[in-house]
Symmetry: D2
Subunit: 336 residues, 4 copies
C-alpha cells in the first residue's frame, strides 16, 4: 500500500498538532513541512517525527510532485492565496478556520477549488467531538423532534495576548466562528438573521483594540428555530463548551468534559476538578478524527464532511454579527 | 398572642394554595375568603380548613374590620382597583403577579399604596425557591465576582388552554414576567435594554390568538452584564427552570429539581425520572416561604422582600419585550 | 367528621416531630401528651400546638377513653411494657424503633398486640422516603430483574454523646437497625446470614464504652442475593444515605439529597453544597408520610405498611450482627 | 537516540493492544513478536505495524540479543517459566496479571528476577487510569484524612465463554485480582484479612464449572480500615468500575466513564448513554500510560511503578478469598 504523502504549511501549535495525527496514521506519511521561521527546535521536532523535508518556502510544499494533500495552518491572511495555489497544483486541501476574514474572498477561493476539482476540508474540529456529534445525531434521528431552541455556551479560559487580538479579526471571526458553525451543525438548518450584543467586561485593553470580550448573539434559523450563543474570553474555571437543543419531543444537552469523574466530599463542600483546561485537552480526540475523516475522503474519493461552504456560511454569520453589533439592530443574512 | 386575621379575594387554584400555607401558620388565621363563584365544594373546602366566613362579595373581605391583610388572587384585571380599595381600607396587601398588564396603572396603584402606608408584597414566589435564592446569595457574596452573563431557562410542561391564552396578556406578561423578575433578582441590577425574538412552534392556535409560544429575549443590565431568557410553552419532559450566572470569578448554575435522586441503568441507557412536573410541585416550598415572609413583615413592621416596584419593573420589561417583538428592534427601557 | 384522637408518650425531639405532623392532619387531633419531664417550654410548645392535655404520667394517656391511638416515643427500654399496656387498653400503636433490644421481648409484645387486635406500626420512617421508595418500586416492578447485590451506605454526620452511646444498644441496634430494615425492604427477601466487621476509627471513647463506630456488614438473602451495609458514626460532609440494588436486568442507585441543585465553578474547583445535614432535614417528608400512612390504616381499617414483624426481623439481624462481630464468624439467622 | 527494542510473547488481544502503544512510542521499537499460532492475519497485522520479525517460537524473542525488554502476554500458566527465562536472558519484563495462580510459584519467579537484576512490571493497568489515580492521589495528599472504608465495584458487561472460565483460575484470580490490587493501591495499606461470599446468579453453567459469578468480598487492612469489593460477571448496562474511599476528613468517589456527556430529556425520562462498554474502551488511556511508565523506567534506570510484589500480594489475597469462600469463614492473610 502506498501512503498518501502530506505537506503542512505553517507548523505552529496547530500545525504540529495535525502533524502528530498524520504521523500516527497508517495510510499517510508526512513528507514536508514549511514555515516562515525555521528554528533548531523545529528541525529537531521534524526529525523526531521522521519528516524528511523542512523548508522555509511554502512553494517547496506546493510544487513537490509527491505531495497529494496539504494542510494550510499559516496565518489567516495567507489562506486564500495558498488555497488557490494549492488547488492549481492539484493538491487536496485541509485549511484551518476561518478561510478568510472576508467571505467574498472565501467565495472566490472556493470557486478555484471547484474548478480544479480538489477536496477542501475546513478545520471545524468540534464537529468531530464525541459530545457535539451526539447532539447532531440525536437531532437527525428525530429523538427530540423539531428543533425549537439552540443554545451554545462557548467560553475560553483566558484571553489571547493583545498582539493576537489585533490580528484576530475580532471575537466573532476568531472565536465565535466555531459556534456559528456548531449552530448550523446541530440545528441542521441555515441561519437567516443575527442580533449581537457585545461588551468589554474582561479586560479594557481588548476594548481599546476595538474588540469585545463578552457577547450574546441570537439567531433565527430557516426552519423557524431560535438560537443563542454566549461567549466570553475568560472563564476562570476553564474551557466551557456546552450545547443544548430543545425541540418538540425533548431536549439534549451536553456538559463539559472533566479530567476525571472524582467527586470529593469534605466538611466544606462536595467538589470536583475543573473542566479540561482548553482546546488542546478538550478536543484532542476531535482533532485526531478530523484528520482521519480528511484522509478517508482522499483514499476513498468521497466528499469531505466539512467543506468550503461550511467555512463560507460561518464567515457570513460572523460578518452579520459584526454589523449587528455596530449598528445595534438585527441583521438578515441576505443583507450580507 | 393574637393572630393576624387574613382575607383572600379569589380562591381558585392559587388562592387555595396560599390558604393552605396561611392555615398552617402559627401567627395567622384565615378569617374570610371571597370568590365570584361560591360552589358547594368551595364551602366544604373552607369548612375543612376552618375558615369562618365565605362570601360572594369581595367587599365583605375589605370592609371586615378584623381583617388585617388580604391576598388578592382574582383575575389580573381586578388587581389594580382591589389594591386601591384595600389600601384605602388600611389592609396590608399580598397581590399575585402581574399587578396589571399596563405598568402605568400599576404605578398609580403603587402611589395609593404609598399614600395609605400599607405593605404590598407581590407574588414573585421564585425568589423564595431554595435554588434561585442560592444563586442570588452567591452573587451577593461576590463568589462569582462581577456578573457578566445571566442565563435563564423557563419552560412550561404544557401550554394553557386557548381561553386562558386570550386573556393572559401574552407570553411576556403572563409567563416570562417571572423571568424578568428573576433576571433583576440574580443580576442585582436593573435592565436597560431588551431585544425579543418570538415564534409559534408549539401550537398554531396560539399564533392565531396573536401570541407566541417560544421566545428568546436578550437583556442589557445597568451594571454592564448581558442576559438571555429562553421560554417555551411546552417542554414535554416537564417544568424546566434553570438559571446560570457567569462572572469574573466563576459561574453558578442550578439544575431542575427531580422527585427523587434515583438513577436506573439498563441495557438501553442510564435514566432518571423527569423533573417535577409543574409549578405546584416545583415551588411548593417557595409558596410556603413567601407567605412566611409576608406575615413576618406584618408582625415585625419590616419591609416586604418583594415590593410593588418589583412588579412595576418586571411589567416594564414585559412591555419593552412586546414592543421589541412587534418592531423587530432592541428597545431601551427608558422608552417605556 | 370526627377526628381520631391521638396521645403521645415521650415528647423529646422525635415525639415533637410526630406531634407536628399529627397537628397538621385534617383527620387527627392531638389530645394528650405525656413526658417524665414537664418543663415550662414543653407546656408552651403544647399550648402553641393547641394540645389540651399534658401529663407527667403516661397512664393518663393510656387510660384516656377518648384516645384511639398512641405514639410511643419514650426510651427504648419502656417500649415493650408500654406496647403491652396500650394493646390491653385497646389503643392503636405507633412505636419508635427498635421495639426492644431483645428480640424475644419484642416477640412477646407482638403476641399481646395480636391478642388484642390493635394496629402496631414501627418507626422505620425511611421506607416512606421518596428515594428509597423509588428503589423498592423499581425492584418490585422487575425493572432491574432479580436482585443480585444490595448495597447500603449509612453514615451519620457526627456521633451521639457518650451518655447516649452507653444506652443505645450499640451501633447495630441503634443505627444500623434502619439499614437492616432497608435491606429487607429493597431486596424484598429475608436475610439468612450475617457477617459483621467493626472498628473504632472515629473516637476511642466509643470503643471504651464497648461499642464500634465503623462497620461493614455483609448479608445473604433467602432469594440468593448478597448484600453489604457500610456504617460510620461520622461523615464530616453530612448525612450519607445511599442505596444501590444491582440485578439481572440492571441497577438502581440513589444519591443523597442536597439543599439545592447549585453547582459553582471557580478557578479552584466545581463545587456544590453538602448533603442535607441529618435525619431531621433529610427525612422531613418521610416522617410526614409515615404518620399519614398510620392514620390512613386506622381510618380505613387496613393493615399498616410497617408492622411489628418488620421490627422483630430487623432486631434479629442486629443480634446476629452483634454475635458475628463478637465471634468473628458468619452467623446464620436461624441461630438467633 | 537509539530506541529500546521490544519483543512480545503472545499477541492475542492484549498483546496486540500493547504492540500498538509501543509502536507509537518515540523511544521504543517493536522488534519481534511470537505466538503459538501464526496466522496470515497476524502476519499482515505485524507488517502494517512495521514489526520486522514474527516467530512461532518464543525463544526467538528471548534469545534475540537486540531485544532489551519483553512483554509476556501469553497464557497465565506460561508466565512463571517465561519470566525466569527472560530474567536469565537479561531482558526487562512486562508481565500480564496474574503472574501465576500459585503465589508460591510467583514468589519463586520474583527471586529469579531479583537475582538477575532486571525490571519486572505487572499489568495492573488500572493504576494508570485517570479516575483511580485521582483517588490514590487524594488519599496520599491527606484530603480525606485517614481511610476508614474502601469500597470497590467491579462488574463486567458479560461473562467470558465457558472455555475461558475453565482455565481462568476463577473469579477471584481472574477478575477480582485487579480489585485486590486496587484495594491496596487506594487504601495505601496491606490487606490482613479476607471474608468472601460468592453466588451463582448469572449463569448456572459457571457454577457447574466450579466457579461463581457474583461475589462480595470484605477486607481488613493493616491501617485499621475496612473494605468491600462487589463483583459480577454481568452488568447488562456495561462495564461498572467505581471506587469510593471514605475517611476521617471526607470521601472521594469516582463514577464510570461514559462515551459522551449528553443528557436527553424526553416525555418518558431523562437519560444518558451507558458507560463505556468494556476494558478496551474504558482503559485505553491506562494501557497507553502503563507502557509509557515501563519504558520510562527502562530508559531512566528507575523503579517500575507496579512491581512483582504487587502481583504477589494480589495473588495472596485471591488465594485467601478462595479459601474463605470454600471454608465459609474469614481468613487471615498470614494463614496464606
Amino acid at each position: 500500500m502506498t501512503k498518501i504523502k502530506i505537506g503542512i504549511i505553517g507548523v505552529g501549535r496547530i500545525g504540529k498538532l495535525h502533524a502528530g495525527h498524520i504521523a500516527r496514521h497508517p495510510q499517510a506519511e508526512l513528507h514536508i513541512v514549511s514555515d516562515v521561521m525555521i528554528s533548531d527546535s523545529l528541525k529537531e521536532w521534524a526529525a523526531e517525527l521522521g519528516i524528511p523535508h523542512v523548508s522555509a518556502d511554502y512553494r517547496d510544499v506546493l510544487q513537490d510532485p509527491e505531495v497529494q494533500a496539504v494542510y494550510i495552518c499559516s496565518s489567516t491572511h495567507t489562506h486564500v492565496p495558498l488555497i488557490e495555489e494549492a488547488a492549481k497544483a492539484g493538491k487536496h486541501i485541509f485549511c484551518e478556520k476561518p478561510i478568510s476574514m472576508d467571505y467574498l474572498q472565501t467565495q472566490q477561493a472556493l470557486e478555484t477549488v471547484k474548478e480544479y476539482g480538489v477536496l477542501l476540508q475546513t478545520g471545524f474540529n468540534r464537529r468531530f467531538d464525541h459530545n457535539f456529534k451526539r447532539v447532531r445525531d440525536c437531532v437527525l434521528e428525530g429523538k427530540i423532534g423539531d428543533p425549537h431552541l439552540i443554545k451554545i455556551t462557548s467560553r475560553d479560559p483566558a484571553p489571547p495576548p493583545a498582539e493576537y487580538i489585533k490580528v484576530s479579526g475580532g471575537l466573532f471571526m476568531d472565536m465565535a466562528i466555531h459556534d456559528f458553525d456548531m449552530a448550523r451543525f446541530v440545528a441542521n438548518s441555515e441561519v437567516v438573521e443575527v442580533y449581537a450584543q457585545g461588551a468589554v467586561l474582561v479586560d479594557p485593553v481588548i476594548g481599546e483594540l476595538g474588540d469585545i470580550d463578552t457577547a450574546i448573539t441570537t439567531l433565527k434559523f430557516a426552519n423557524g428555530a431560535l438560537g443563542v450563543i454566549d461567549n466570553s474570553r475568560q472563564a476562570v474555571y476553564g474551557y466551557d463548551q456546552r450545547v443544548e437543543v430543545f425541540g418538540s419531543k425533548g431536549c439534549i444537552q451536553i456538559a463539559n468534559d472533566h479530567p476525571n469523574t472524582a467527586e470529593i466530599s469534605t466538611k466544606d463542600a462536595v467538589y470536583r476538578d475543573n473542566p479540561k483546561y482548553f482546546f488542546l485537552e478538550r478536543y484532542e480526540q476531535a482533532y485526531a478524527e478530523e484528520t482521519l475523516a480528511f484522509l478517508h475522503a482522499i483514499v476513498n474519493g468521497t466528499k469531505v464532511p466539512v467543506d468550503g461552504n461550511d467555512a463560507f456560511q460561518a464567515e457570513r454569520i460572523a460578518a452579520a454579527a459584526k454589523r449587528s453589533l455596530l449598528e445595534g439592530r438585527p441583521v438578515k443574512l441576505e443583507e450580507i
